[in-house]
């Protein structure tokens, strides 16, 4: 279980976190929704170690993540797909994927080869152009590559920051579908941050609503989806 307790983060005025607590169950999809500037990205960046919190604790399977370096957190099985199709455009598609598995080469070389092959099966669009620079990919393909880069490290929990941002609905459906399948079939734990609340709540088991850095609702996704007044108040639709 990913457990976040009394997490307070100072950032610029409108995307801080104020005493946030919730937890994400293993093998389930938990989504964090909220308007722009609610602190969703800050939350994921703090879990990944890119931002240091002012106070509070983040534990994954009973080990404390606060104070660990981002590269160590990845090695502990917590992988982040940051906002905005985070790939390295100068590197080839294959290099971007391999990059995510470099740290496992020494201990599990054969599994790395398997994992890379699995990524190409999962995202066949990428398989035909392995040697092409990833700058040649479309936005949706870049997002797939960014997810593949994270998945190839064989994380136990995947943190996704706005995977649907700027993508066509059909692509969003494909990407969300793949994430859902990974969760249901191989037991991957997912923490999904989304501005597009309906898409996220449709696939999620549990939903957390953030507003101005505070948790205002923490319920099963179905209940949250049905609560029209809450959504109107905080999301505007």
């Amino acid at each position: 279980m990913l457990k976040i307790e009394n997490l307070t983060v100072n950032f610029d005025a409108n995307s801080a976190l104020d005493n946030v607590s919730f937890s994400a169950e293993v093998g389930k999809i938990t989504t964090v929704i909220g308007a722009n500037g609610a602190g969703k990205s800050t939350l994921l960046r703090t879990i990944s170690g890119l931002k240091a919190p002012k106070s509070g604790s983040i534990t994954w399977r009973d080990s404390e993540l606060v104070g660990m370096r981002p590269e160590a957190i990845v090695r502990a099985g917590v992988a982040l797909v940051p906002e905005g199709h985070a790939v390295i455009p100068e590197l080839t598609i294959d290099e971007n994927i391999r990059m995510g598995a470099l740290f496992r080469l020494r201990k599990a070389k054969s599994d790395v080869t398997t994992a890379i092959a699995e990524m190409y099966e999962l995202f066949p669009q990428l398989a035909d152009r392995r040697k092409a620079p990833s700058s040649t990919l479309s936005g949706g393909e870049r997002q797939m590559l960014a997810i593949a880069r994270a998945l190839v490290s064989r994380p136990e929990i995947l943190l996704l920051d706005e995977p649907s941002l700027g993508l066509a609905p059909l692509i969003v459906k494909q990407i969300i579908g793949i994430i859902e399948e990974l969760c249901r079939k191989s037991g991957l734990t997912v923490l999904l941050v989304e501005q597009n609340a309906n898409t996220a709540l449709d696939v999620a088991d549990h939903g957390v609503l953030l507003a101005l850095g505070k948790v205002v609702a923490d319920r099963p996704a179905k209940d949250l989806r049905a609560d029209v007044s809450l959504r109107e108040a905080y999301l505007g639709y």
Partner: protein
């Protein structure tokens, strides 16, 4: 014709040495985002160490290997002992502005250069020492014909091309190379991929220090070794990077060969006194027409 060929070979061999200096600078620039002005100070220091070893009548090649290791160790030590602690303090007020954050490590590298030169002055009494070459630096003749190059020219060109090819293979074909490129291009994504970017950066410093040491040893038979003997090499190597584009590895190497040939041809056909004028002319032309370097993609940085 003979004169032309002499200029060509001398230029290529000197260009190769500048290329190593430039490559060292580029490796640190791409990894750590700073121009390491101490680089040739490190090389000078390791050349003194090599010279001490040779003076004890130990084989040249042992001295060569020790110098490469010493250069690398100095590079690594500078990163771990000076640059890392400086980065850690980035929360303090003087480092809060981005321009200061970029400038301070560069100033630190100038300070390290001063320390290395003074230390060399203290340890070796600042004496100018001759330095041997592993093969003859005198004119070579095959049969009765005098060749336009020396054995040493050929040695330098071959050795350095092997090093350039090996470095390229290391960066492009190995896992460590991929980690180095990823860390240089996008540190955040690299860290999120589990790459230990700090260690990778130190590796860049080590590699750069070793390359600079080789360059120092190759130029030392001509310049001798003294605390300031490699300053000129640093200036030319840096100019080569600016001409070729600091972000482009092969651009900087090409810039180095352009400079090597220019200097050599001016030396032979014109007068040695005009060498700096020539370098300056090229530099200014590049700064006017291609400010980010001849081979750089992307835009120049606003300074």
């Amino acid at each position: 014709m003979q004169t032309f060929l002499t200029a060509l070979f001398t230029g290529t061999s000197h260009g190769a040495i500048y290329a190593l200096v430039a490559l060292g600078l580029v490796l640190v620039w791409r990894g750590a985002g700073l121009i390491n002005f101490a680089q040739m100070g490190q090389a000078m220091f390791s050349a003194y160490i090599a010279s001490t070893i040779i003076n004890h009548h130990i084989n040249y090649w042992w001295a060569f290997i020790v110098a490469i290791i010493a250069g690398g160790a100095l590079g690594g030590a500078i990163d771990v002992l000076v640059i890392r602690p400086l980065k850690k303090k980035s929360g303090s007020s003087i480092l809060s502005s981005p321009s200061m954050r970029d400038a301070i490590p560069v100033i630190a590298s100038l300070g390290i250069l001063g320390i290395l030169q003074s230390a060399a002055g203290m340890i070796w009494a600042g004496e100018e020492r001759g330095f041997p070459a592993p093969v003859s630096t005198l004119g070579l003749s095959i049969g009765k014909r005098a060749m336009p190059f020396t054995r040493f020219d050929i040695f330098v060109i071959v050795l350095i091309w092997l090093i350039l090819i090996a470095t390229t293979l290391l960066l492009n074909k190995t896992s460590v190379g991929l980690a180095m490129r990823a860390s240089a291009l996008n540190m955040e994504v690299a860290r999120l991929s589990g790459i230990r970017t700090r260690s990778i950066r130190t590796l860049g410093w080590i590699l750069s220090g070793s390359l600079a040491s080789v360059a120092g040893l190759m130029v030392a038979p001509a310049t001798n070794v003294s605390p300031n003997s490699l300053d000129l090499l640093m200036i030319i190597g840096f100019t080569a990077c600016v001409i070729g584009g600091l972000n482009s590895l092969w651009g900087s190497v090409t810039g180095a060969f352009i400079l090597g040939l220019t200097i050599s041809f001016i030396n032979i056909y014109d007068a040695p006194g005009d060498v700096f004028l020539g370098i300056f002319a090229i530099l200014i032309a590049v700064m006017i027409f291609r400010p980010s370097g001849l081979f750089a993609k992307g835009k120049a940085r606003n300074v």
